[in-house]
Assembly symmetry: C2
Homo-oligomer: 149 residues x 2
Amino acid sequence: MKNDNWWCGRFRGCGYKLTVPREAILDVLSLTDKHLSAEDIYLAVHKKYPTIGLTTVYRTLDILVSIGLIYKFDFCDGRARFELAEDSKGKKHHHHLVCTNCGRIVDYTDFIDDEIELLQLTEKGLSKKYNFKITGHLIQFYGLCDKCR
Amino acid sequence: MKNDNWWCGRFRGCGYKLTVPREAILDVLSLTDKHLSAEDIYLAVHKKYPTIGLTTVYRTLDILVSIGLIYKFDFCDGRARFELAEDSKGKKHHHHLVCTNCGRIVDYTDFIDDEIELLQLTEKGLSKKYNFKITGHLIQFYGLCDKCR
DNA sequence: ATTGCTACTGAAAACCATTTTCATTAAATG
DNA sequence: CATTTAATGAAAATGGTTTTCAGTAGCAAT
């Protein structure tokens, strides 16, 4: 097990052990630009490590979400999807545009700046008015892609 | 069966029959300000009409969503939740603030105007750039409420 | 290196919201 | 009122996710 990956510190700092399955799962996520489901990840990991089980994939994803290394999304197709958090790996912050017919997902980074600005303003207002400690937001567009429209 | 409810036309216009279960389900939804799950609705309907089944509730909710009479939301607690579309019944358009600890949901209408304006601008931009026919958006905030923080 | 502690693991079973199946019933139309 | 066809309820199936449990492997202290 190599201890030189960028996420090792993050793991140990949270009291989690560094294991082969966890490293394999993070590898898969850091090498794709797709929005993988737990099963997608399981299948990808399975090619290199056939002994790693789906249960472990689910458990690991839970941990990764909880320590903020990955994000979990619901694109309304009945399964959760995961992607690496953008600050982890030189990825750009983006939002999603989802085709409700074929499931295609477009990551867009245009328009983001205005969105972020407004979101921060709203978060501040909500936080004050309702005394919430805001931890996150979700903004997503749905529609029909060029092929499906 | 009274044929004088505001939704009768909407139903018939879409080729759906007006039935007791459908009316009962819409009644429940129009009398609450909560975000009910399919089971919540089933239980509420069940008090007055014990013969109406959960299956029918699910089927009716599907229809209501598809004709735009209600909205379906995912607040990440493992079940879908439903509420009457705001244009149906003098309800104000709002977005949601969700407590990730206790599940409390705050409907907020402040800040909405700016949000809507930005969303429309973004929709226009996305629609042009990616050739999507945008049909909807989702914007939601997560955090810890005053009791849970 | 070896040990001991404890977290981690895989397989199987359980879970649970939602969907499907199918035989029966009831709404709408004329 | 009869006919057509959609709607219904019960039960079974589905399928993503979680739990259980006995065995395994990280890792800190020796």
